[in-house]
C-alpha cells in the first residue's frame, strides 16, 4: 500500500514536473521562453495542456503569486493540476499574450484539436493549420494522420504533413512532399513551392538540390493550373449570380417599360418596398412563430409580390394613367413617386439599414471545387430568378391576361376594338411588373443591405439592362442581364469594381449609338414612335 502510494506520488510528480516548469515558463517567461513552452505543452498531448493554452488564448490565464490559475468568471482552477481553487486569491494578474504568441497559440491549439473526437473540431483545426504551421508539430500531425479516416480531412492532413516535411526532412521525404503538394489547390501551397524555387540575390537557389527543384516546378504548374480553374469557376459563378440579380431587377421593368412603354423611375423603390415587406414578414415570424422562422420566406415571397403589386396598381390608377403618351412627364412624375416612397419608408422604418436574416438553409455555402465556396443564398437567387422568368413567360404566352397584354402592346386601338378592356389590362400589367420588382426586393434582402436607398442603386442598372436588351422582348432582357453580369465581373477582376462599372456604362452608351433599338428589336417600319 505504501509502496503503491509512493509510486503513485512519484509518477504524479514526474508527470507534472514537466508540466509545472512549462506552465510557469508560459506564465512568467519572456516571449521566447513562452513559445518554447507552448511547443512543449503541445508535444505532451495532455488534455490539461489544451485547457491551459485555450485559457491563455481567451485571456483567462492569470497568476497569483507563484500560482498559475485559470479563471472563468468567479471560479478558478489550478492550471497545473486542474483542481478547484477557492477562495479566489485577491491579488491576481492576467497573462498577456502578444501577437506573436497569439499566432503560435492558434497553431498549437489547432494541433491539439487534430486528435479531437469531433469531426467538426478536426476539420476546423486542419483548416487552421493549412494556413501555415510550425514544423515542430510534425510528429503531432503524423500521429493524427495515422488515426484519421475521414475522406475530406485525410488529404488535407497529408498536405500539411508534406508542407512540414518540405521545411526539414530527408531528400526522399522532401521529394515525396513536393510531389504530394502538386495535388493541392491551396494558394498557400503555391507560395510554398515558389519559395522552393526562389533565387537568392547572389544567384544561388534557395533550394540547392536540382532534383527537388525540378519536381517543385512540375508541382507548381499543376497547382497553378488548378488555381486558375478555381478562379475562373468563381468568376463564372459570381457573373451568373450578378446577372440573375440584374435580371430580377430588370424583369419588372421589361414589362412596364418594354411592353407598356411607361418609364417608371419608381421601379427601384418598388424593389425596396418588396425588401421591406420581407423585413416586416421576418419580424412577424420572429415575434409570433419563432419555431417556423426558417419558413418565413415562403410567406415573404408572395407577400412582397402582393404589396409591391398593390402599390404599383395604385400608382397606375392615381398617376400614371393620366400621363400615357407623355413619356417625359411620366418619367418626372414617377421620380416624384419614388421620392415620396423613400421618405415614407424612412418615416415608418427609420433611415438606418434594417437587418434581414437568412433562414438557416440559406446561410453557409457549398464548396464546389478548388476551394471556391458558393453561398447558398446566391444559388437560391439564381434558381429563383430562373423560376420567375419561366413564370412570366408562361403568364405572357399561356394566359388570357398575357394575350391581352401582348395585344395591347402591339396595337392598342385594334385590341380595344375587339373588346379588350385596355385600361384594365394596363393596370394589371403594371401591377404585374411592380410585383416582380417586389420579388426582386425579396431576393435582394437576402444578400445585401436593406435601406431606404436600396432602389436607387438598381435603377440605373436595370434601365441599362432593358435599354440594352431592346424594348418589348423578354429574351433581350435575359441576354442583356447575363451579358452585363459577365462584363461587370470580368472587368472587375481585371480593373476593380468602379472602373468596371464605368467601362460597362460607356460601352452601353456606345452600343446604343450603333443599335438604338437594343439587341433584340421588334421589326417595324415606323419613322418614329
Amino acid at each position: 500500500m505504501r509502496i503503491l502510494l509512493i509510486a503513485l506520488l512519484l509518477f504524479a510528480s514526474r508527470a507534472f514536473a514537466l508540466e509545472v516548469a512549462n506552465v510557469e515558463k508560459l506564465a512568467f517567461g519572456e516571449s521566447d521562453e513562452q513559445v518554447a513552452a507552448i511547443a512543449a505543452l503541445v508535444a505532451s498531448g495532455d488534455p490539461q495542456a489544451a485547457a491551459v493554452l485555450q485559457a491563455l488564448a481567451d485571456g483567462e490565464l492569470q497568476v497569483a503569486g507563484k500560482r498559475v490559475l485559470i479563471v472563468k468568471g468567479e471560479e478558478a482552477t489550478d492550471a497545473v493540476t486542474g483542481a478547484k481553487v477557492a477562495p479566489l486569491p485577491e491579488e491576481r494578474e492576467g497573462v498577456v499574450a502578444n501577437n506573436r504568441l497569439r499566432r503560435e497559440l492558434a497553431g498549437a491549439l489547432a494541433g491539439l484539436k487534430l486528435t479531437s473526437p469531433q469531426r467538426e473540431a478536426r476539420l476546423a483545426a486542419v483548416k487552421e493549420l493549412a494556413g501555415g504551421a510550425d514544423p515542430a508539430m510534425l510528429p503531432l500531425v503524423k500521429r493524427a494522420l495515422e488515426k484519421e479516416a475521414d475522406p475530406t480531412i485525410k488529404p488535407m492532413l497529408e498536405l500539411i504533413a508534406a508542407t512540414m516535411e518540405l521545411k526539414d526532412g530527408s531528400k526522399e521525404a522532401r521529394i515525396a512532399a513536393v510531389r504530394m503538394l502538386g495535388g493541392s489547390s491551396n494558394s498557400n501551397t503555391k507560395l510554398l513551392l515558389l519559395g522552393v524555387l526562389e533565387k537568392r540575390k547572389d544567384g544561388s537557389f534557395a533550394e540547392p538540390d536540382e532534383e527537388i527543384r525540378r519536381e517543385a516546378q512540375a508541382s507548381l504548374r499543376a497547382v497553378e493550373g488548378r488555381l486558375a480553374w478555381g478562379e475562373r469557376a468563381g468568376i463564372l459563378f459570381t457573373s451568373i449570380s450578378l446577372g440573375s440579380i440584374l435580371l430580377l431587377a430588370a424583369m419588372g421593368l421589361a414589362i412596364t417599360y418594354g411592353l407598356m412603354g411607361v418609364i417608371n423611375m419608381a421601379h427601384g423603390e418598388l424593389i425596396m418596398v418588396g425588401a421591406y415587406t420581407t423585413y416586416a414578414v421576418q419580424n412577424l415570424f420572429r415575434e409570433h412563430a419563432p419555431d417556423a422562422f426558417d419558413w418565413y420566406l415562403a410567406c415573404a415571397v408572395p407577400a412582397s409580390f402582393m404589396v409591391s403589386a398593390a402599390v404599383g396598381m395604385l400608382l397606375e390608377r392615381l398617376v400614371i394613367r393620366w400621363l400615357y403618351g407623355r413619356a417625359l412627364e411620366t418619367l418626372l412624375a414617377t421620380w416624384g413617386i419614388s421620392l415620396v416612397l423613400i421618405q415614407t419608408v424612412r418615416t415608418i422604418f427609420g433611415a438606418q439599414n434594417v437587418q434581414v436574416e437568412n433562414p438557416a438553409f440559406m446561410s453557409g455555402g457549398v464548396e464546389a471545387l478548388m476551394g471556391v465556396v458558393l453561398p447558398w443564398s446566391r444559388i437560391v437567387i439564381v434558381v429563383f430568378a430562373a423560376a420567375v422568368l419561366v413564370g412570366i413567360w408562361l403568364l405572357l404566352t399561356r394566359t388570357r391576361l398575357g394575350l391581352f397584354v401582348r395585344g395591347v402592346t402591339q396595337n392598342r386601338a385594334m385590341a380595344s376594338c375587339v373588346g379588350v378592356p385596355t385600361a384594365r389590362v394596363d393596370t394589371w400589367a403594371f401591377g404585374l411588373g411592380s410585383g416582380i420588382a417586389g420579388l426582386a426586393g425579396c431576393a435582394l434582402s437576402q444578400i445585401g443591405n436593406v435601406g431606404p436607398d436600396l432602389g436607387q442603386a438598381y435603377i440605373v442598372d436595370s434601365f441599362m439592362v432593358v435599354v440594352l436588351g431592346g424594348v418589348g422582348q423578354l429574351a433581350g432582357t435575359v441576354y442583356a442581364a447575363l451579358g452585363l453580369g459577365f462584363a461587370n465581373k470580368l472587368l472587375e477582376a481585371w480593373q476593380g469594381a468602379v472602373l468596371a462599372k464605368i467601362v460597362v456604362l460607356v460601352f452601353i452608351i456606345m452600343f446604343i449609338q450603333k443599335r438604338p433599338q437594343g439587341l433584340f428589336a421588334l421589326k417595324g417600319r415606323a419613322v418614329e414612335t
Binding site: T330, L331, A333, G336, S338, V460, V498, I512, V527
Partner: protein, 366 residues
C-alpha cells in the same frame, strides 16, 4: 404667331422689360447696399447668409435656363445636366485649390488631399491649373466638348425622348462613380473645399462675396437675354419645329442634328459657367453634384416654372430652391414629400407651370 412666339411676345412686352429692370435694380443696387452699406443690427441689413443663398439660387437659375433651352425649346430632356454643372465647378475649383497655396493643413504647396494621398506631383489634368485664364477656359471647354461629342453620337443615331434621357442619366452616374475614386485626382469623396483666395483676393470677405454675387446676377440676366435672342431667332423657330415634329422638319430639308447639337452644347456650356460661379460662393464641390437625383431636380425647376418660357425656368429654380432651403431647415423630414409631390402635381395638373397658370388666370379675368 404660333403659341411659342405669343408667349415670348407677352413675356417681353413693355411690362416684361420693366420687371426685368426692377429685378436688375434689386440685384445690383438693393442687395449690395443692404449688405455692405447698412450696418449689422439694422433691420434693413442683409446678412451674408442671404447673399450666398440668393447667389446660389441664381446659379441654379442659370442651369434651369440652360435646361429650358434644351428641353423647353428643342424637346431634349437631359437627366445629366448636373454633370456639366459639376464639371464647370471642378474646372474652376482646381484654380481655387491652387490659390490656397501653402495655407492648407499640411502647409504644402499642394492641395491637402494630394498630400494625404502622398502624391509628389500634380496629375496631368491639373496642368497649368494655377492660371486663372486656363481654368476659365476649361470651365467652357470641358462641358462643351463632352456635350458636343456625346451629343454628336447620340443625335446622329437619332436617339431621342426617354432613351436620350436615360442615357444621359447613365452618363452622369458613370461620371459620379469616376469622381468618387481618389485615383481620379479630384479629391474623391470630399471633392474640393476650404478655398482661401480668388485672384489673390480673400474669398470669404463681404466685398468679394458681393462681387461674385454681382457677376452671377449679370451672367443670369445676360443668359436670359441671350436665350431670348436665340429662341426668337430663325434658329429658335426651327428648334421648336424639331421639338414638335422632328421628321417633318427633316423632310423639309433641315438637318435636325446640327440644330440639336448646337443648342445642346450651348446649354452644357451655360451649365459649366453656372457651376464655376457656384463653387466660390458655396465653397465646396464634390461628386454628389453629379448624382442622377440632382440632375432630375433641375428638370423639375423648369417644369414648375413653365417649360419653353425662359423666365419660367428662373422662377421655378427660385421657387423650388427657396422652398428647399426653407423646408430643409424647418421640417427636414418633410422635404422629400414636398419635392415628390411637386414632381407629381406639376406634371399632372400644371403642364405649363407657374408662368402658365398666371397667364391662364389673366386670360380668364380679362
Amino acid at each position: 404667331m404660333g403659341p411659342v412666339s405669343l408667349l415670348i411676345a407677352r413675356l417681353y412686352g413693355p411690362r416684361g422689360w420693366m420687371t426685368l429692370a426692377a429685378f436688375a435694380l434689386a440685384l445690383f443696387v438693393v442687395f449690395p447696399l443692404c449688405n455692405l452699406a447698412i450696418p449689422e443690427g439694422n433691420p434693413l441689413h442683409l446678412s451674408a447668409y442671404w447673399v450666398s443663398l440668393v447667389g446660389k439660387i441664381m446659379c441654379y437659375a442659370i442651369v434651369a435656363l440652360a435646361m429650358d433651352l434644351a428641353w423647353g425649346y428643342a424637346g431634349i430632356l437631359s437627366l445629366g445636366h448636373g454633370l456639366f454643372f459639376a464639371l464647370g465647378g471642378y474646372a474652376f475649383g482646381m484654380y481655387l485649390m491652387r490659390q490656397i497655396g501653402s495655407d492648407g493643413q499640411y502647409k504644402a504647396n499642394m492641395p491637402d488631399f494630394m498630400v494625404f494621398l502622398d502624391w509628389k506631383e500634380f496629375p496631368w489634368a491639373w496642368w497649368n491649373s494655377d492660371q486663372f485664364w486656363w481654368c476659365a477656359l476649361l470651365v467652357v471647354l470641358v462641358p462643351g466638348l463632352l456635350a458636343f461629342v456625346f451629343g454628336f453620337f447620340a443625335f446622329r443615331s437619332r436617339i431621342k425622348g426617354v432613351y436620350f434621357s436615360i442615357i444621359t442619366q447613365a452618363l452622369t452616374y458613370a461620371a459620379m462613380l469616376l469622381f468618387f475614386r481618389n485615383a481620379t485626382g479630384f479629391g474623391g469623396n470630399n471633392g474640393f473645399t476650404d478655398f482661401k483666395r480668388i485672384l489673390d483676393i480673400p474669398v470669404a470677405i463681404p466685398s468679394t462675396r458681393m462681387a461674385l454675387f454681382a457677376i452671377t446676377a449679370a451672367t443670369l440676366i445676360g443668359s436670359l437675354l441671350l436665350g431670348r435672342y436665340i429662341v426668337t431667332s430663325k434658329f429658335g423657330r426651327i428648334l421648336a419645329a424639331i421639338r414638335d415634329a422632328e421628321s417633318r422638319v427633316m423632310f423639309c430639308g433641315y438637318n435636325p442634328v446640327h440644330y440639336k447639337l448646337a443648342i445642346w452644347t450651348f446649354s452644357a456650356v451655360l451649365c459649366g459657367i453656372a457651376g464655376a460661379l457656384y463653387v466660390p460662393q458655396v465653397g465646396i464641390i464634390n461628386p454628389s453634384e453629379m448624382s442622377p437625383a440632382n440632375s432630375i431636380e433641375i428638370a423639375i425647376w423648369v417644369a414648375v416654372g413653365g417649360r419653353g418660357t425662359l423666365v419660367g425656368a428662373i422662377v421655378g429654380a427660385g421657387l423650388v430652391n427657396g422652398a428647399k432651403s426653407y423646408f430643409t431647415q424647418a421640417f427636414p423630414e418633410y422635404w422629400l414629400y414636398v419635392l415628390g409631390l411637386i414632381f407629381i402635381l406639376v406634371t399632372l395638373f400644371m403642364p405649363k407651370g407657374v408662368v402658365g397658370l398666371w397667364s391662364q388666370w389673366k386670360n380668364r379675368s380679362a
